[in-house]
Symmetry: C2
Subunit: 361 residues, 2 copies
Amino acid sequence: MRRPSERRVVLADVARLAGTSEATASRALKDDPRIGVPTRAAVRAAALKLGYVPNAAARSLRARRTHILGLLLDELSDPVHGKVAAGFEEAAAARGYAVFIMTGLHDPERERRALTAFLEHRADGIVLASCVSDPADVHARVAADRVVFVQPDYPALADGAEPPPRGVLRSDDPAGFAATVRHLVERGYERLAYVGPGVVSSDALRRAAAADAVASYGLAPMRYIDSGLDGWRDASTAARAIEEDPPDALICYDDKLALALLDALRATSLRIPGDVAIAGFDGILPAHQSRPRLTTVDVPSVELGRRAVEMLLATGRDGRLPSSEVLPVRLVVGESTPPRRARSAPEIVGQAVPSRRGASA
Amino acid sequence: MRRPSERRVVLADVARLAGTSEATASRALKDDPRIGVPTRAAVRAAALKLGYVPNAAARSLRARRTHILGLLLDELSDPVHGKVAAGFEEAAAARGYAVFIMTGLHDPERERRALTAFLEHRADGIVLASCVSDPADVHARVAADRVVFVQPDYPALADGAEPPPRGVLRSDDPAGFAATVRHLVERGYERLAYVGPGVVSSDALRRAAAADAVASYGLAPMRYIDSGLDGWRDASTAARAIEEDPPDALICYDDKLALALLDALRATSLRIPGDVAIAGFDGILPAHQSRPRLTTVDVPSVELGRRAVEMLLATGRDGRLPSSEVLPVRLVVGESTPPRRARSAPEIVGQAVPSRRGASA
DNA sequence: AGCGTCCGCGCAACCGATTGCACAAGCCAC
DNA sequence: GTGGCTTGTGCAATCGGTTGCGCGGACGCT
């Protein structure tokens, strides 16, 4: 237990106790082969005895490497971002990097401040997950070989750019939505609708991907239902709009929204999935446990976080990041999108109020 | 866009451009009143023009303050921990602190390494959420006025210690479980069972709190059902055990487990809540959206994170942390615990659970 | 014995900011 | 004109490690 009066143990103390110079002590502690084995042992022992803890600030000041990685994301409490963060932290820790995490909350000003913090602390690498700022602004502040974009909302950073961008990592969301649409079409759904928050820019991409798929099947253009920004909490407005004019199936921006809708639609006369099928996106755990089980798309969120670290730390000798990557996604069919023609008996699964009757067959 | 050839801009460059010394430039940038207004403006302009970004390592080396806070938790992808992290990050950012987040994953060795990282980076404060290490070991490494324990699993750090501990922050879980038991008793449930992972140490506390409450109502001792460590993913084993000999109601360690059980019990002949009622704990979003809606206890997780920051930064002039705090929780009655008999019991929906603040008895 | 190597280690500069202290003006009063 | 003050700046030490370079001694070889 360190008393206020005791000064912090510094390298000089270790060196003194070990009977060497600071230089030797420093090298010994990092197992420099130029230092003899006995000396190394002596320094080790001294450090241990004194409870020496090197000062990272001093070290990185001289070494020009901080072993710090910065991660910027929207919301830590969001399951998807939480998984990205978990994968990121795990991979970083495994490689001996500490992780700065800051949240942007869709606020450009907060993002700017977060970036400033990363830069002041001289993070060795920065990962921007779903940032709302302009990548050009970002690149004006951060060297291109030090920043990786994960799930960028910017079409410009996606495919088709010339030259192929580096340092961009994302999951194949368009393919996921295409798979969802295909699944629905194969199951006999025709009038599809997309529900999303609108303002989030990745929403436009997902919606467009679904719309493209719908068009490719020759179906009528997909209806768009605005869930609003807080549709994740209160989806009742969207639920009423759906009740008024129910489509055959709903394609949701993400699982969080789908689950909120599932909940809100209980208050309507609609039976789910009997009257309206519903599909989500992300593959978060509650989606797999909901009732009915949600048809959704598993996104490798943890893997995204992990790969982001690997990309950052894999700059080749040309000092450039590996080229961009797209991680595959996987459609998971649940009970929320049953074959449409097969429905003959009334669905019980989607009933609104739990039964309080006695035992029933 | 910074080219590799351009050297990083340092304070000396700013000073040169502004025509002052480094000392003056440094003071000007932090609005030292001793520096004349024109000089301050000149330095400001020079810094802006050069795109100067101060080096946090150099600054904190000399200033002996890093403006870094460390947060150690079990799993970032866990909803509860995610909310704690979110509150923590938000409060820290608002006060100009950067946040190191590391995960322990219930592994003492990882926790040790995380603590080492915090210490090497000289974090101004450290928050340990649900760490599995011995607090004594922690205090041997970290000054007592620099670390806050959130939701400690250690009875020794809870109430009753003498002198009252400082730097301990938790929610009133015992009161929450007591409220759940009371609710179940009032609704006519008699044979209660507790389901938990067993090995997690906070499990013992929760179980004990529930058991105490059960005893206080003169009911038979509560049965214990082991969910296993990965009961959050696969609760089928526990579900089979429940089906074999169903209690009246299940009190679960947390919502995650309750939801998994809810899901697993669908594969049994039991109807929920008709045959067996079920209650969770934590108040995570999916619990409020599940079907049936889960009776649970809202825990102020975000607030825990926020308060942790405030406690860390509120050390008085005696250099000591504020005394420990217990945040109140709130029972939320859902559909998973309907009245069991015809006799109607008083509704206590949304009633706040009486809770004590501070460590004073 | 003489000479070239190699090994192990220390000197001192350096990373980039902060800060105690001193000093130079400018101003007033005597 | 000189002393006492205030005001605005600069010098240089300092924080705690890292690292280029050089030096002394042990060792091998002729």
